[in-house]
């Protein structure tokens, strides 16, 4: 027998002056292999066309469908209803600007964060299209790729009580980005330069090791180990700076 699932969905439209924040209930019969992406689309098609939520790739690639599912930040498209109880509560990710209902603006947050930590390969090398490409050691390439799989879904920020408490905290996603450039041989920046952007209380030293980030990341990025790596490197960098004759 298939179950009838109850969905409690957060409703609020900030641009409508009459709209009040609250939860609205919907019922939907569960079908085989149903995931939240499909369920929400059915609800919107047949029950209430005004529900706002974001989707794009429906395959855990674009990071648009992050939301709080029964208290846990996660991707709707990667959540099977079979893994959920009969009642499903859906909230927008906290810590981002609310667009409406389940839709939040992660884009501006991520853009600001990436600008703050200067999230690009810094190099003086002139690009020469004729030249043969420089080969990267395969092990290094794979290590970078592992960290580069972040889809900027924002779940780690929503799950981080530190980030929720301190709005200027850059979060695990930023430390993971920096770790990725630290191991990239093409980036000419040294630990001295990285220290400038993350050797702060808004950066790595603000992290209290609560590991909400690690436990929700839908791409299973090893955030815990990256955070510790950045903390050790930045910790040593601070000591190095205290030595006489060092900048």
């Amino acid at each position: 027998m298939s179950r009838k699932l109850k969905y409690s969905i957060f409703r609020y439209n900030p641009v409508d002056p009459d709209s009040k924040p609250g939860m609205q209930e919907f019922f939907l019969q569960e079908t085989e292999n149903l995931n939240l992406f499909v369920a929400l689309n059915i609800l919107r098609e047949v029950q209430d066309p005004s529900i706002q939520f974001d989707f794009c790739c429906r395959a855990g690639i674009c990071g648009a469908c992050g939301m709080v599912i029964n208290g846990r930040p996660g991707l709707a498209c990667r959540t099977k209803t079979a893994d959920l109880p009969d009642q499903v509560s859906l909230l927008p990710l906290p810590g981002f600007r609310l667009v409406g209902d389940l839709s939040v603006d992660t884009g501006s947050w991520f853009r600001a964060m990436n600008e703050k930590i200067r999230s690009w390969v810094h190099t003086d090398k002139e690009f020469d299209p004729q030249e043969q490409e420089v080969c990267m050691d395969n092990r290094v390439a794979e290590k970078i790729y592992e960290l580069d799989r972040c889809i900027e879904c924002g779940c780690c920020i929503a799950a981080c009580a530190t980030a929720q408490m301190r709005v200027d905290f850059l979060g695990a996603v930023a430390m993971n980005r920096i770790a990725r450039f630290m191991i990239d041989p093409r980036d000419k920046r040294g630990h001295k330069d990285y220290f400038e952007v993350v050797g702060t209380d808004q950066g790595i030293f603000g992290c209290m090791g609560l590991l909400g980030c690690q436990d929700v990341c839908p791409k299973n990025i090893p955030l815990q180990d990256q955070l510790a790596y950045v903390r050790r490197k930045m910790g040593w960098q601070a000591l190095r700076r205290l030595m006489p004759g060092q900048a």
Partner: protein, 206 residues
Amino acid sequence: MTTSRPACLDWLQMLTGICLVVFMYLHALFLASIILGPGAFNSLADFFEKYYLAQKGGPAIALVFLVHFFLAARKIPLSSREQKKFLSAAKMFRHRDTWLWMVQVVSAVVVLLLGAIHMWVVLTDLPITAEKSAARIQTGYWLVFYMLLLPMVELHVGIGWYRLGIKWGFIKSAARHRAKRAEYYLTTFFILLGLIILVRFLLLSS
């Protein structure tokens, strides 16, 4: 330019934390000598005083304790807006490690108060003897006092080293669940040991 201050304070927080963890576990093991009898306890206490470990080490630990408190307090949300944010985040997200942090904050406040009282009372009444300690605990008031302090200290210290390991990477993600289990066992062990010590003091006839 970014200052080195946050980094250095984080180092200090870690180092004072490690000192206190090691101290607390040793402290419990030394106290456990009472299980062997007041003779063993007193000769251990004599030894510490002969080498001025109690007279000098005591205030040193008190200083480390104070420094650690001031460093860690930077992380405690002081404004009610931040407290509310943390609470609502923790409530929404039923997540063990996030709750453990709240346990750490609450136990820290208790340990700060009771720990300071305890150190004051013991260190201003040197030498330490089994008889004096037993007399204190047998008043009943101190028994209640220690029954509260004991679990709070052990929780704080246990969660403390686990968190330090996570933050600095002594505990890698592959070892996290084993480390957490070890933390629970160790904390339980030391609480039980503490209770046995208290009962032993309680039953010590003067």
